[in-house]
């Protein structure tokens, strides 16, 4: 007996949005990825195994939907590609999301899937390639950079 799908949205909606934002940067794209993730998940919900880890399952779908969006982005004429890098005003503090956007891709994805999405390193590696150890290092380096950039001590 499966729980109402709304429970999955309620419990994991924010996590999936964080992952989408970290992976894709810009808000409109992250929100599109969020919507596509939950629509696909809704369709597959009745056939999901009872003991499945719902959050990990959603994060994996979000990864695929984000990839779709990145692919679509590549087929756009170059002047329509949404800006993905930031050129922050040095006078104001970086927001956490701007800091995430400035990370190298491997670190950004490792932080997104492990620290925001809660996936173990082995599953992060399965999504982004490389070894679990490399995923662990990328996530650790990413978090270290974020702390430095955001001038946080912990």
């Amino acid at each position: 007996m499966r729980a109402p799908f709304e429970r999955a949205v309620e419990h994991h909606g924010a996590t999936v949005l964080r992952v989408c934002r970290a992976v894709l940067g810009g808000d409109p794209e992250a929100e599109d990825a969020w919507s596509e993730t939950f629509l696909a998940a809704l369709r597959a919900w009745p056939s999901l195994a009872e003991d499945a880890n719902v959050e990990a399952w959603l994060v994996t779908i979000a990864h695929r939907k984000a990839l779709d969006i990145v692919r679509r982005r590549r087929t756009l004429p170059i002047d329509q590609v949404p800006a993905c890098t930031v050129d922050p005003d040095p006078a104001t503090a970086l927001t956490v999301w701007e800091a995430v956007r400035s990370l190298p891709e491997r670190q950004r994805l490792a932080v997104a899937y492990h620290h925001l999405g809660g996936l173990p390193y082995a599953e992060v590696a399965a999504l982004v390639g490389g070894s679990p150890e490399a995923a662990r290092r990328a996530a650790a380096d990413g978090m270290k950079t974020l702390r430095t950039v955001l001038k946080e001590d912990e």
Binding site: R2, P4, F5, V9, L39, P46, V96
Partner: protein, 193 residues
């Protein structure tokens, strides 16, 4: 380090998800809660129509879990889907509406209970019947007790007026929303009717 997301954006996204899921035929069920003079009510609807009305004392989480089992688990909260139902309920509780004009999905009404529950709609606004009389009308004069339990398990209370059925001695009888709620509905209809 806090990776904040904006809650109101998330609420918008959730409402948008419910809209596109409903438009695409991907939902088994939409639901929302509304305030009323008999406490918070849960409304649940399939594509066909309203399939369940529940009172807070029935525990909405438990009701939704049973609906997931009976109807399907692709369930989302949707405010828009119930604009019409909410308006009719508001009018009813204001005393300006005596019948509901909402499509119903009767799939939760089975067998003899279903027969009883269909018969309930023949009891007019502001009038009452009794379990015994209803049993007689259905051709089962000794089934008053079964009629009582059919009323108590009516999946569509208020819309399908099981509150208009009293005990043969005139006492109020059971109600899924509690006897106080039943009294509120009967007094409302007596006043406005």
């Amino acid at each position: 380090m806090r990776f904040d997301v904006d809650d109101t954006r998330l609420d918008d996204l959730r409402e948008r998800l419910a809209d596109s899921a409903y438009a695409g035929g991907d939902l088994d069920l939409a639901y929302r809660t509304v305030d009323s003079p008999v406490g918070e009510l849960l409304l649940a609807a399939t594509e066909t129509g309203v399939v369940r009305v529940a009172f807070a004392r029935e525990d909405f989480d438990a009701v939704l879990a049973r609906l997931a089992d009976a109807v399907g688990s692709r369930i989302l909260l949707s405010r828009k889907r119930f604009d019409h139902a909410q308006r009719e309920l508001e009018e009813y509780f204001a005393g300006s509406r005596s019948t509901f004009d909402l499509p119903l999905d009767r799939r939760l009404s089975h067998g003899f209970r279903g027969e009883v529950q269909r018969q309930l709609s023949s009891i007019g606004y502001g009038t009452t019947s009794s379990y015994g009389r209803l049993a007689q009308q259905l051709g089962h004069p000794r089934a008053a007790r079964a009629v009582g339990s059919a009323c108590a398990t009516n999946p569509l209370p208020i819309l399908v007026p099981c509150h208009r059925v009293l005990r043969s001695d005139g006492s109020i009888g059971e109600y899924a929303g509690g006897q106080a709620a039943k009294r509120v509905l009967l007094e409302l209809e007596a006043r406005a009717g």
